[in-house]
Every structure is written in C-alpha cells, then in structure tokens.
C-alpha cells in the first residue's frame, strides 16, 4: 500500500527577537489510510506539525524537510495556488474550539455551502441539499433548522459537529484533527468522537489526531506518536501503550489521577535534559 503522507525530517522554525525558536525539530513518519495519534504537551510541536502539513504555518515561520509528500505531490515545491487547491479539498483540518473556528457572522449552512462550492462546481440547490445530508451524517437531528443558525446559537458539541460536516463535505483523503474534542464536555466528547470514527472508517480517510490526552488518543487511534520538545520520543501501536519504554511517555501516563487508584502524592514528571536531544 502506498503511503498517503510521507514526512521526513520536518523542521519548523520561527525567528523571534531573542533568537530562532525551533518548534519542530526533525519529525519523520508515514501515514497510510489509518488513524495516527500525535500526543504531547503544550509546546511539544504537535500542532505545528499538523499545521505544516496543512500549509497553515504562520507567514514568518520556515518549514524545512527532506521530504514532505502527499499522494506523490511534493508539498515543499507546491506553489501557493496548488496548496490552496489541496487545502479543504484533499487535506482538511478540524480545530479545537468551534466558538473561535467558525465564522460568527455567517450561518452554519452558508459556511458549509461555501466550502463545498469553493471546491466543486455545484449549483445552489444541489449544494444546499448536500450540506443538509452532511449535517444529518454528523447526527444533527434537525438539519433544516441548524442550517439557518449562527454559531453562537448552538452548543459546543453541535458546533463541533458542524465543523466536522464542513471539513468532510469536499471528501478529503486526509483529515487532521487538532484537539477536536478538548473544548467539549466528557459525555459530548465521546459522541463527537464516535461520529468522527464512523465517518473516517466509512470514507477510508487517513486521520491525524492531535491531542494532549494520551489515554483518549490511545483508545481512538491505531498508532501513537509521542512528541517532546519538537521531536518524536516514541512511536508505538495504541494497544501497546502500557508497554511504553520512554520515561516521558511512562511519566505522562503515570501522572494522571485515576479513579480507584489511591496515589498521594501523584508521581510528577522529572524532565531530563537528554530527552531534548
């Protein structure tokens, strides 16, 4: 099976007043039509990795890699227009908080239709119909009503479903989900994940699931990459998380309070300087 995405020695750097910040320092992985989790804490470079693949790195940042290939297309050499043609159409991204990532002055329906018509030459009526179908596919019970609502009129869980609908309507092959459920309540979180899971499986997409929650990622993905300070410290099958070798991964797993485990005080991470290298 040919890989959907190939990343080799990806580096993302940002110049600042106090010197160059290396957000991502040599990340290498390949992705097929599978669910890959990228886990790390704030500042580990997980989101910047996702943004670099999507082509959303801030203007002043520099992306450097030996190889950054999507379906045989060299993303490093692709022009801005080519990148734009890919973005949304073949690679899509779900962001963390629907409160900030949806346009507040456009109805949900119009935003979904806009996405669709940006990528496919479809008529208004057809676009509306497909948007409604997509809204029911993300299990919104009354799509006609939600179509005409503004983002502030819906709950967080509903907003995130609308976001998923918008991202999937053009039928992308690769979906990058950056903390898609972190802003949601635990119970709603699982509903949204179940919808995402079903759609990814049905449509045979590749999924990169970026999160700080190691347990959640391992229960959802096939494979997990653990990042620390811009590098991959460990890569393992999600089912074998308990056999993690790296002290950082083990520390992350250990420091979470567990129901029924009486551990006082909680073990804390002792960050070693050699993890950075």
């Amino acid at each position: 099976m040919s890989a959907l995405l190939g990343v080799e020695d990806l580096r993302v750097t940002f110049p600042t007043r106090t010197g160059v910040i290396e957000a991502v320092r040599g990340v290498t992985f390949t992705l097929g039509r599978e669910r890959l989790g990228i886990v790390g804490e704030s500042g580990s470079g997980k989101s910047q990795t996702g943004r670099a693949i999507m082509g959303l790195t801030a203007e002043h940042g520099t992306i450097d890699a030996k190889r950054l290939e999507f379906n045989g297309i060299d993303l490093l050499k692709a022009s801005k227009a080519e990148r734009r043609a890919l973005r949304g159409r073949r690679i899509a991204m779900i962001l963390q908080d629907p409160k900030y990532s949806l346009n507040p002055v456009m109805t949900i329906g119009r935003q979904i239709v806009e996405t669709l018509r940006a990528h496919e030459p479809v008529g208004k009526a057809e676009a509306r119909k497909r948007a409604l179908d997509m809204l029911s596919a993300v299990q919104i019970r009354d799509p006609e009503r939600v179509f005409d609502l503004y983002p502030h009129e819906v709950s967080g869980g509903m907003g995130q479903r609308a976001m998923i609908a918008m991202m999937l309507i053009a039928g992308p092959e690769l979906l990058i989900a950056d903390e898609p459920t972190s802003a949601l309540d635990v119970t709603v979180q699982l509903d949204v994940l179940a919808i995402l899971d079903r759609l990814v499986a049905e449509r045979g997409m590749g999924l990169i699931f970026i999160s700080h929650d190691l347990r959640l990622v391992s229960s959802f993905c096939d494979r997990v990459i653990v990042m620390y300070a811009g590098r991959i410290v460990e890569e393992l099958p999600a089912a074998k998380l308990s056999e993690a070798q790296h002290p950082y991964t083990r520390g992350l797993l250990n420091c979470m309070p567990e129901i029924g485990a009486d551990r006082h005080p909680l073990p804390v991470l002792d960050r070693k300087p050699e993890w950075r290298t």
């Binding site: 309540d185 979180q189 899971d197 309070p257 991470l269």
Partner: protein
Amino acid sequence: MTPALAIDGLSVEYDDFVALDDVSLTVAPGESFGLVGESGSGKSTLLRAVAGLAPVSFGTITVDGKRLGGKRDKAFYRKVQMVFQDPYGSLHPRQTVDRLLLEPLAIHGFDDTEGRIVRALDEVGLGVSFRFRYSHQLSGGQRQRVAIARALILEPSMLLLDEPTSALDASVQAEVLNLLEQLRATRKLTFVMVSHDLAVVTHMCDRLLVMQNGGVVEQLASTDLAARRVTTDYTRGLLVASEGFCRKS
C-alpha cells in the same frame, strides 16, 4: 461540630433562567468536597454564590455557623478565598507578582507584607526570583501557583477551587494537585473543588456532589465512586465517559 460550610435550599436565578435549583450540602471543617458535572450543570454557579459573585435568589449559606447576608464583609473574604480556572485570565496583566500579592494584604491591613510575600511564594514552590515578574513571563502552571499564593496569603480557612487544573498540561496538573493537597494538610484547609474531571475530583476529595442542569443528581463518597457504587444512570454515564473512547462493533 459546626460545619465549615452549610448550604440549604440554595437557588440562583438570572431573570427567568434557573442556574441553580434548590441545592443543599454541608462540608465539615478540614474536609475536601467536590462538585462534578458538565457545563451548565451549575457547579461553578454554586461556588460563585458562596463567594458572593452570583445572586442568591432563595436559600441560605452558612460559613462556620454564621449566616451570610447579601453583602459579604471583609472578615468573610479573609476566611474564604477562591482560585479560578484560567490562570491566563485571573491575574492582572500589568501588575507584577509582588503587586498582585500585596493587594489583598493592603486591603486587609496586614503587617509584615514583605515577609508574607516572600513566604507565600516560597510555599507554592516559586521562590523569590519570581517576585518581580509579570504574569505573561510565567508558564500556565507558574501562574496557577501565583493564584494559589494570592488566595493563601490571607491565611484563609476555606479555599473555593473552580477547575484549578483544567487549563494545565497533565504533568503540570499533577504538580498543582500535589501542591494543593500538601497545603491542605499543613494548613488544615477546607476545600470545595469544582471539576468536570471525575478522576481529579475522586483523587482530591472525600465526598462529592454530582450535578446536572442546576440540580443535584446524587451525593456520594469518593470510595463509593471508586467501587462503582453509584445509583443514577447519569453518574454511571460520567464514569463510562471518563474511561475514554470505546469503539462499538
């Protein structure tokens, strides 16, 4: 023994919207009590009503045997302090840590402000080198430590904790939770802690109240929760959800 906090039939209404509906609970001195529920369940409103930040429509709040009126006096705020969820929003961006810690001391007319600020920083594990920094020069965990120092500097007997670690990374969360537990032990504090995370609440608290839509679902001991001795479907659902995603085949 007089309870540290007794709430009886408390309701909070905003116009027609009932944010909190007839909630009663008691917390013993030195106890750690948890409030759990999803957004909109009224758990934060309950805490804010105790702190005097939400209007009480019906019911009574009693702290150390003294019934609270509509306006809290200074002595109340010496005794009860609050730590908020978002350390990025709860510290004044244009004040140094020193200024932030001085403010409550000045309001309450404490002496030896110098010594108290140094000791407070030391106690939360920051040290004096942080004293003249601004909050934007600190990480999330360090900010939350400053917020805890600010709450503790008045030597309160009760701390109201509104999701104190939900904006922090898992490893930093562990550090802050350990700090809170250690402070509670050394200072004999009473905690009332709000969280959406069942694991955090069972770790920190002896007893907890599960809330939904402004009302009480059930009250139970952490040990009952750990042993899965729950009586309502709602709590059971929360328990299942806290275990992570499960693929239905």
